[in-house]
């Protein structure tokens, strides 16, 4: 096997070298972007690519790595098999005293080594560079490597899928590439799975399936027939995923290109907005964000005082107050939003004296010297007695690693732990508590907000929600107002504060808006009203109101329902959870019809009851995609009339399936010459 490995290594080294060069350039570019982003920040300019300060987390790099590893892996796998696609060279490879399983092992050993060389080596070097102090002025932790490593490992799926593409002898030529579908689905699901380990498990599972399909293809020379059961099952799963993906794309095409323009769904969307004087209006727009109307709670249209006409959306937006919204949660501060998402690792909160201050996902304040790119220190919260506490700072809602605006920054910032608010002075490198919860309450959300409408106003307040109250603190930690958290955070986690400018007799300075949890509201049929509290002079509650419920928006229309009903019934249930929905019935009808066709086809060509039952069940579960899989995978034997019963019989059986008569020997033409040898 060693000879085979060495042969394949040498044969495909050029491809691996090309991959190495391309990937190295991509990674080097990302490293350079990290440097230029740092230079931009140190020069006092604004950037929206904060996360790119750590090249391992750069979204651009992740996209590049994802595409590169997929293409490189698939190309490498395909090349390794295409080199021996000529039937005589395939014979030269296969006809030697080793098993086909050994040939498969030799091939993939060489291929994976080359893949590791082309894609893994540059990645390892980048990780080493990011890890060694003095190169990257941003926090590093090993978990940051996981998204890149996941893309690298997903490339192994593509490698096997590429091999399968090169090996498969398919009746429908285009279906050779369907094996790539499973790899594509695996990578795409990384964007929806919340945890990296889930994604890695899926990648590993897909790799095992695709490797088994490739192993099976080596056993049979790429045909379905003649494969061991494990190979056939793996091929069916891989092709099933590919067919489901093709069907999904077809459904999307039908929806976006064919049905949707025909149906012209014209849904409207209404929402409440508060103006600076504290008045609430209902704005209604179309799906294209074109304004339909702006009315007050009595239904009177809002008029533009300058023109006397109905107010335009643009003009209306000028009337909106400053404010911010937080989402109260006591358990999920550091929850991943998806395995792709790297922005949760840290946020840049301040730059003072060329020192970058980060709040990492563990709630730690970490400083990096922008000039030396080395760790400059950390700051921990201290209790009221001055001693260090074990508490970590809360990540601010919405403060993700994309954006940093240096123009409104001061050298201090208010930060919160679960029980206290601190003033972090970055110049003095000190953290002092300015507000501490006195009871057994806990801070559930925190945001520092700029107050007032004047420019160059450095005042920063802290907007805090706890289990019991919602309060605003000034920069010294003094309470500006505190109102009870009602309704509670479980049903109303989103709380918005608006800074008002009382005019026209209005007296409220602030408004606090409690918004219902969207999914719960949808399930209740939109019956959970928004609750608003106005705080007047002396910051006492001046007024409170429940706003009339808005209709829950159902954005889906018949085209997407119809297109989605082409999908496998289990997948369709994801889109349409209502079991009794007619679209679900349609999806099951498609599946049933597909299963009947599959049953009749398999019965005609394969007498094995297991095969008939297995395929029928598989097609019923996957619907049209299952039927497509059957048609892609199965090699249908020719049929010719049986001389005895005259019915069509499959040529791959020893006996006629109808009358059990054997095939007759070739008809003699009188010129036969046979003699004992």
């Amino acid at each position: 096997m060693k000879a085979l490995i060495l042969k394949d290594l040498r044969e495909n080294l050029k491809a691996a070298l090309i991959g190495l060069v391309i990937f190295s350039l991509l990674l080097f570019r990302s490293y350079q972007i990290a440097g230029s982003t740092l230079a931009t920040l140190l020069a006092g300019a604004m950037t929206n690519q904060i996360i790119a300060l750590q090249p391992l987390l750069s979204p651009n790099l992740l996209a590049d790595a994802g595409f590169f590893c997929a293409i490189f892996g698939a190309a490498l796998g395909w090349l390794q098999t295409r080199n021996e696609a000529h039937r005589d060279l395939w014979a030269f490879l296969i006809h030697r005293p080793v098993t086909r399983a050994e040939i498969f092992r030799g091939k993939i050993t060489a291929g994976l080594c080359l893949y590791a060389f082309g894609a893994g080596l540059p990645l390892a070097i980048l990780v080493a560079v990011a890890r060694i102090p003095g190169h990257v002025a941003a926090p590093f932790e090993w978990a940051m490597v996981l998204p890149l490593v996941s893309f690298f490992l997903a490339g192994v799926d593509f490698y096997f899928a590429g091999m399968l593409t090169g090996l498969r002898q398919a009746r429908w030529y285009a279906s050779r590439v369907f094996g790539l579908g499973l790899a594509i689905i695996t990578v795409s699901l990384g964007g929806t799975l919340p945890e990296t380990w889930q994604w890695l498990t899926l990648i590993a599972l897909a790799a095992v399936i695709l490797a088994a399909a490739v192993w099976g293809a080596y056993q049979s020379g790429g045909y379905y027939r003649g494969q061991p059961l494990a190979g056939r099952l793996a091929l069916i799963v891989a092709m099933g995923a590919g067919c489901a993906l093709v069907l999904f794309l077809a459904a999307a095409f039908l929806f976006f290109v064919v049905f949707n323009p025909l149906s012209h769904p014209s849904y409207q969307y209404s929402y409440y907005q508060m103006t600076r004087d504290g008045a609430i209006y209902k704005a209604t727009t179309t799906q294209d964000n074109a304004l339909v109307e702006i009315v007050d709670l009595e239904g009177h249209p809002l008029l533009d005082p300058k023109t006397g006409q109905k107010m335009e959306l643009k003009e209306f937006q000028k009337l909106l107050p400053y404010g911010t919204m937080v989402s109260t949660s006591f358990n999920h501060w550091n929850q991943y939003r998806s395995a792709f998402d790297t922005t949760h690792f840290f946020s840049l909160i301040n730059i003072t004296d060329k020192t970058l201050w980060y709040l990492d996902r563990h709630g730690k304040l970490i400083a990096y010297d922008g000039r030396t790119r080395k760790l400059a220190g950390t700051l921990n919260p201290r209790g009221s007695d001055g001693a260090l506490t074990s508490e970590s700072f809360l990540t601010q809602y919405g403060s993700v690693g994309y954006y940093y605006n240096p123009y409104d920054e001061v050298s201090w910032k208010l930060l919160a732990t679960a029980t206290a608010v601190y003033r972090a002075d970055f110049k003095a490198r000190a953290v002092k508590p300015v507000f501490t919860l006195t009871n057994d309450d806990e801070i559930g959300a925190y945001a520092d907000v700029q107050t007032g409408y004047e420019d160059n106003q450095p005042s920063r307040d802290s907007f805090i929600t706890t289990r019991k109250t919602v309060c605003l603190l000034d920069s010294a930690g003094r309470t500006i107002f505190a109102v009870p958290y009602q309704p509670g955070y479980v049903d109303y986690p989103q709380v918005q504060i608006s800074f008002l400018q009382p005019t026209n007799g209005a007296t409220a300075n602030f408004a606090v808006w409690f918004r219902p949890e969207p999914e719960k509201n949808r399930k209740s049929g939109g019956k959970m009203p928004d609750h608003v509290v106005w705080l007047g002079p002396g910051q006492a509650v001046a007024k409170s109101a429940d706003l009339p419920p808005l209709p829950v928006q159902e954005f889906s229309s018949w085209p997407d329902k119809l297109a989605a009903s082409l999908l496998p019934p289990p997948a369709h249930l994801v889109f349409d959870k209502d079991i009794s929905s007619p679209w679900n019935a349609l999806s099951f009808a498609f599946a049933f019809l597909s299963a009947v066709i599959a049953w009749s086809l398999v019965r005609r060509y394969d007498s094995s009851p297991k095969a008939i039952a297995g395929w029928t069940l598989f097609v019923f579960l996957l619907g049209i995609a299952g039927l497509l899989t059957l048609l892609c995978v199965q090699e249908w034997p020719a049929r010719e009339p049986c001389p005895r019963c005259k019915k069509l019989r499959a040529v791959d059986r020893e006996l006629c399936e109808h009358c059990q008569s054997p095939f007759s020997p070739p008809e003699k033409n009188g010129t036969e010459i046979f003699a004992p040898l």
């Binding site: 060693k2 000879a3 042969k7 040498r10 044969e11 080199n83 000529h86 039937r87 005589d88 060279l89 395939w90 014979a91 030269f92 296969i94 006809h95 030697r96 005293p97 080793v98 098993t99 049979s220 020379g221 045909y223 027939r225 003649g226 034997p637 020719a638 010719e640 040529v651 791959d652 059986r653 020893e654 095939f663 020997p665 070739p666 033409n669 009188g670 010129t671 036969e672 010459i673 046979f674 003699a675 004992p676 040898l677």
Partner: protein, 310 residues
Amino acid sequence: MRNEASVIRTRGLTKYFGAKPAVYELSLDVPRGCVFAFLGRNGSGKTTTIRMLAGLEQPTRGTGSILGCDIQALTPEIRARIGYLTEEHQLYSWMSVQECGEFQSKFFANWNNRIFRGIAGHFGLKSTAKVKDLSRGERAGLCLALTLAPEPELLLLDDPGMGLDPVAHRTLIESMIYLTRKSDRTIFFSSHDISDVERVADYIAVLDRSVLRACCPLEKFQECVRQVRLRFSGAPPALPKIPGLLQSIRTENELRVTCAPYDGEAEKTLRALSPMEMETVPLGLEDAFISYLGERGEKTFILSEMEAQP
């Protein structure tokens, strides 16, 4: 045809490509230690049969064994005993002659480097020459060297001389004859070159449109395919139905009839035509083979009739 010492044995071996049978109900026994020629026109199913025997193509139905092992489950041990030379002599183009030998030698326990070097030398191959730079004949020689160096017990050679110039062809056949002649070695080869067959084969099998029509010792085949010349005083009479008729050529006063097998019944039918003269013309193997696989039916070469035609 049953032979207990068969190294190759097939029963009802059939292969369809789509709706077309490439090999139909092939039942064949190849005795140990013989040189067996497998003949047929292009597309008659020779290569498909050899590929099925080598376990590279799955039969649609039927069974086969090679060296006692099912052709659909050839073990590495059995493969080590079989040398297989493909018709297009494909090798890894980036390898040198020496690298090809070294690569192949790693897999075969019985690798005989003297044989490899001997055949390579016979073809004038430089060890450093790259496969991609070799001529077709040189590549065929290298393939033969790689096939023979493991000293296989059974050789499957798929049209080894195809596309070679006469010199390369002769060199290849000489190598095949002199380097493979061992009492217990069996050679199963397909060819279009009848002179090769005549020179080396003990037995032949002929496939005609996917069906095995002949399988016998070489001499028997030559013996069975006969041409008979019949002279008449005038125009030859219409030919009655003759068993085994391959071809008849009619001229002004002569009728040439080729039959296979030419037996007593055919002779009796021809004599019933009362020719003035009747003689059996000996046919060379090539003529016999061409007659056997050529166009069937009657051809008329009567000049007066041809001139009268518009």
